[in-house]
């Protein structure tokens, strides 16, 4: 059962990274326009170069 000593911290850390990412996305206004974002990803405008 020593494998648990590795696996539990790893699973908690991965979950924590997910939670951190969620908090970061929430604080940087990424849920303000869900409909617009869904369509924005499909348009070819900045495919070749990033938005200046």
């Amino acid at each position: 059962m020593t494998v648990l000593a590795y696996l539990i911290p790893i699973s908690l850390m991965l979950g924590g990274i997910g939670l951190g990412a969620f908090i970061w996305s929430l604080n940087s206004d990424q849920y303000d326009d869900p409909e617009g974002n869904a369509r924005r990803i499909l348009r070819p405008d900045y495919d070749d170069h990033p938005k200046p």
Partner: protein
């Protein structure tokens, strides 16, 4: 703040002082200015027609190309575009540019649209939901190991890890419930939040004790799952209200509260709140009177339909008294302010609404009624189990407490907490797509109980836009002459006549020297004769009974062109559908008898009243309510506001005056009236779903509670019952079609 406002208003910065929408804008506008880079203005425009990815690209690129514009970003969810630009860029310029691109745009008052305290509350709720979700998944994972038979030190280790995750989660994510429960207890009530808080806290506390003692049942997963499901319900509830609030705020923001004050011969835009009695205000044609006052200069006609329901424009000139809310139609007017802000007739009406609203809040929602039965029931049951086991085991406090807590957890308020918000979210989302905005959380439930519908006429069943009667029966030369004269004016009757003539395929006659006489009509020269189109007394005609404009052909007697009010699209269908649903339909209007009788005949409404004063409308609604009827009031004008607030539930079109929209529970966003009948149908279905959801959670409880009381419940049964009932309830809500 100065930079922000001066971009939108080419005028000194405004500092509104009284209690009004504009004052709320001040801190918000400061917030906006803080977020904008120095020397940059932020403008907000409403884009009602934007709907696709191509729209976003076109608008963003088109605006970015304009001089002075730094950045433009479309928000498709809210149908708005936020523009960051040089301080000198005005909203008018951007609107014109968007118009060239083919998009309708309106300026929004950025002050009333910036993130409010409520938005931060929503974000906070989402954060707690995320944390609870993360904790639930991890604790669940560890619990599955325990349930499937982990023993000895492994089990103890897993329980300690669960405790380490669950404890901070419950303390952080459960706060909304603890706060509400504390408030409820302080007020001496038992809401839903008291049993919820008790269940969460006792489950965590007892599990912690069990873990420290090294064995027994731990309920960490139940405590965290309970928090998660209930937060999901809270968040859904918040979302529904937030969508309604942001759309309602947008409607309010469309009316930028400004007036043109005359200062030494120049027009300066100032906030309405800054106007003082004695100031001179310029009101352009097409604009709404910002204040009560007396006309000093200019003649024009006023549309009073929003205040009184009259469909006929009223002539006005020097010394005439005007009221806030009237619309100036033809000529520019200079008005001396007699009352502004708090003292104006508009504001007095709004106060009337506030009084009526306070009477309305007494409605108890289905959820509150369910909680009223549920909360004491659960507490009694848990306490009884505790006492029962204490007696049976002869004083084993530990076991008795364990069973009492299991009862508290298993009675599962999560299904109850989700039962209403999930259905209301599904129903409001569906109605929003049809163009109906549900402003009040209990509006759907109240709408489901309606049995009588009262309509206003002007602006509600009709568009308040006139339509010429039987143009095809006219002599073509009269029509050609009238069309030519009408084309020279912006008066609603003239515009309707010109459109009607064009639709009938009549080419305008060659009339020369066209000139509009504000407040009277249009004059021109045709084959050497002076021809006129306008008011009866001005052209020398005998007035007709109906709304009409009159044509003096230069020879012979003047002829009248009668008008009827243009029916709102879907009005006939809505009336028919409501009647098919078994509702009594009534028409109460402030307009003249002939016009009301004609419309009632067209729609087949037998029960109508004409010439009703605002108080009479409200009294009639109150009388119907006293008869035990549940009245749905549909109206748009200031004269309807008191009746809207007095009704059981109320609907107003988006074109309605601010006060009327505030007083009503549901706002009709499009022109079409047909969704009103649809809303009544959806509301009844939603109520049925809510009741089914209550039945589902009752059924789960009926199965699980005896197990808990008998001491047979395990953490696994608690977790299964809780998750299964929450998911069933959510799925049932999604069935709403």
């Amino acid at each position: 703040m100065t930079e922000t406002l001066s971009a939108a208003v080419p005028a000194p910065a405004t500092t509104p002082a009284s209690a009004c929408p504009a004052c709320l804008a001040v801190p918000a506008a400061e917030d906006l200015a803080r977020r904008a880079a120095p020397g940059e203005a932020r403008l907000m425009l409403s884009l009602p027609t934007a709907h696709c990815a191509a729209c976003m690209s076109t608008v963003e690129r088109g605006l970015a190309k304009l001089p002075g514009v730094h950045d433009a970003r479309v928000n498709l969810t809210l149908k708005r575009v936020a523009v960051a630009a040089e301080p000198w860029v005005t909203a008018e310029g951007l609107i014109a540019a968007l118009d060239r691109l083919g998009y309708e745009a309106h300026e929004l008052d950025p002050g009333s649209l910036t993130p409010t305290r409520a938005d931060r509350a929503g974000r906070e709720l989402l954060m707690r939901l995320g944390v609870a979700g993360f904790a639930m998944m991890n604790v669940m994972l560890l619990s599955v190991a325990v349930w499937s038979g982990a023993e000895g030190p492994t089990r103890i280790l897993f329980e300690w890890i669960s405790a380490a995750i669950a404890l901070p989660t419950v303390i952080f994510a459960g706060q909304p419930f603890f706060r509400n429960a504390a408030t409820a207890l302080k007020a001496g009530r038992l809401g839903m939040d008291v049993p919820i808080s008790l269940a969460i806290l006792l489950a965590t506390g007892l599990s912690l004790y069990e873990t420290a003692e090294g064995g027994g049942h731990t309920y960490f997963d139940a405590a965290v799952a309970l928090t998660f499901f209930l937060l999901a319900g809270r968040y859904l509830d918040y979302r529904t209200r937030a969508v309604a609030r942001s759309a309602a705020a947008e409607l309010a923001a469309l009316e930028v509260p400004r007036a043109l004050r005359m200062e030494g011969g120049a027009e300066v835009a100032v906030a309405i709140a800054d106007l003082r009695p004695g100031d001179l205000v310029r009101v352009r044609p097409g604009a709404r009177m910002p204040v009560d006052g007396v006309v000093v200069e200019g003649t024009s006609e006023l549309d009073r339909s929003l205040l009184t329901g009259e469909s006929l424009p009223v002539w006005t000139g020097p010394e005439a008294v005007v009221s806030a809310g009237e619309v100036n139609l033809t000529g520019p007017l200079t008005v001396r302010v007699t009352a502004a802000g708090q003292d104006s007739s508009l504001h007095r009406m709004a106060d009337l609404v506030a009084v009526a609203e306070s009477a309305k809040n007494r409605y108890t929602s289905l959820a509150d009624r369910a909680a009223g039965i549920y909360a004491p029931g659960v507490h009694l049951l848990a306490f009884a189990s505790f006492l029962g086991w204490l007696w049976r085991t002869g004083g084993d406090v530990h076991l008795a407490l364990n069973i009492g807590v299991a009862v508290l957890i298993i009675t599962c308020p999560c299904a109850l907490g989700l039962a209403v918000p999930a259905v209301v979210t599904a129903a409001s989302g569906r109605l929003f797509r049809k163009g109906l905005l549900i402003k009040d959380g209990t509006a759907l439930e109240r709408l489901a109980e309606v049995d009588t519908v009262v309509f206003d006429k002007t602006g509600t069943l009709t568009l308040g836009a006139p339509e010429p009667v039987r143009l095809d029966a006219r002599a073509p030369e009269d029509l050609a002459l009238a069309a030519a004269l009408a084309a020279a004016s912006a008066h609603p009757l003239a515009r309707a006549l010109a459109t009607g003539a064009a639709a009938a395929g009549v080419a305008p006659a060659a009339v020369e020297d066209l000139r509009e006489v504000p407040g009277y009509g249009v004059e021109g020269r045709y084959r050497g004769r002076v021809v006129r189109l306008g008011r009866a007394e001005w052209v020398g005609a005998a007035p007709l009974a109906a709304t009409a404009t009159y044509l003096d052909r230069g020879t012979g007697a003047a002829v009248g062109f009668p008008f009827t009010d243009h029916l709102r699209p879907g009005a006939a269908a809505a009336v028919a559908a409501l009647r098919a649903q078994g509702m009594a339909v009534r028409l109460i209007s402030g307009d003249a008898e002939a016009a009301v009788a004609e419309l009632a005949g067209r729609l087949g409404i037998a029960d109508w009243t004409a010439g009703a004063l605002p108080e009479e409308k409200a009294a009639e609604v109150a009388r119907l309510a006293a008869e035990g009827r549940r009245v749905l009031m549909v109206g748009d004008g200031l004269n309807d506001t008191a009746a809207l607030a007095a009704a059981y539930v109320s609907v107003s079109p988006a074109s309605a005056l601010d006060a009327a929209r505030v007083a009503s529970d549901i706002v009709l966003l499009g022109q079409d009236m047909a969704p009103v009948a649809e809303a009544a149908r959806v509301a009844r279905r939603a109520r049925r779903r809510i009741r089914e959801n209550f039945a589902v959670s009752a059924l789960y409880n009926a199965v699980a509670v005896p197990l808990a009381v008998l001491g047979l419940a395990t953490p696994l049964i608690a977790a299964l019952a809780m998750s299964a009932s929450s998911i069933t309830v959510s799925l049932n809500a999604l069935r709403l079609r």
